[in-house]
Symmetry: C2
Subunit: 182 residues, 2 copies
DNA sequence: AGCATGTGTTTTACTTGTAAACATTTTTGT
DNA sequence: ACAAAAATGTTTACAAGTAAAACACATGCT
């Protein structure tokens, strides 16, 4: 089945039925001369991210963790070794000050430990405690299961296509960020 | 040109070269049994949104506006009529309390005005001042021009495909939100 | 009319992030 | 070797969001 413009309508005209489409139509009537094309992508990326964060935090809340905290623990878990606060900040894309605060809270809860560096006494090395590791390993499958259920409405071919296109966009954005921040 | 698995490589194997791909690979080596497929989409959506917010706010900062403030003004501009605080909250996907604070700041800056309702004296009606309208109309083209330049690296066919796939995902997320919030 | 209940908005207390300043230590240049 | 510069991490002051309660008014029931 195809629409009058020949574009396939396998997603039941999703492009005409979400909130972003409505917003774009409003702008079009007020500023018919403006090219609103970028909104169709960027508006949707932003809105998807907002909704995902709302819903996705459910398994984390149960464990009493915020997502930024989980990201920090996850960085330690997936790299498999100790990281310094600075490395954690880069790895989780957050500021050093924010990492300092999170580390304080997570240390008090016994999820991470710190150790000074012998050579360079400015730096600390942070590692997961056993409790912290078990917590991450317990939450991650739930998180992925939830994410899988969210994506289950999209057929595998389209999922793959979407992942590739997003990778292209992300690569471009990260390239830009690298260029724009010398 | 196609990769060894037959998938086209028009985006120069973007899927293997962004930060999310590296994270997924790390998880795979630590938990080889886990299905990390969802991360390829959801991780990228989140990361794209984060980068877009950092970079995209440039034209807004120049005008001394935060993005949530611009969203509020934009909602008034694109609907073309007055909105109540509650409607603004729904329209901009934020809490009523946040809207109250933003309205206070924007009113003090002379960008919006309030007017009481004659029938129902609980509600207020908010409208853009001429200054506010001019500000939105001045910023929007800059914003769209920047967004266009970000997306210019992706060819039009892929842009269209990406917009459609995101619309499908967003529709599903918004449907879920509706169902999960009775 | 009088009171319970619902709705729209604001206020309050609190959480969390950021930017800028700071302290400490290392590196660099001469 | 030593002063200046850079790097690392923390502290401080502040901005902005949220949840829950408070507030103000409207509506419906008896």
């Amino acid at each position: 089945m195809t629409g009058t413009d020949g574009r396939p309508t396998t997603t039941q005209d999703a492009r005409r039925n979400d909130t972003v489409a409505a917003v774009v139509r409003q702008w079009q009537t007020v500023h018919p001369d403006l090219d609103t094309g970028p909104m169709e992508i960027i508006g949707r990326v932003n809105r998807c991210a907002a909704l995902l964060q709302q819903a996705e935090d459910a398994p984390l809340r149960r464990a009493g963790l915020s997502r930024p905290e989980f990201d920090l623990l996850g960085a330690l878990r997936r790299t498999g070794h100790e990281l310094t606060p600075g490395e954690l900040a880069r790895e989780t894309f957050s500021s050093g000050a924010a990492v300092t605060k999170r580390l304080k809270a997570l240390t008090e809860r016994g999820l991470v430990e710190r150790r000074g560096d012998a050579r360079d006494r400015r730096v600390a090395h942070v590692r997961l405690t056993d409790t912290g590791r078990d917590l991450v390993d317990g939450i991650l499958p739930e998180q992925l299961a939830y994410e899988t259920s969210v994506l289950s409405g999209i057929d595998p071919t389209q999922r793959d296509e979407l992942a590739s296109l997003l990778a292209g966009l992300l690569g471009r954005l990260e390239g830009l960020a690298g260029v724009l921040r010398p």
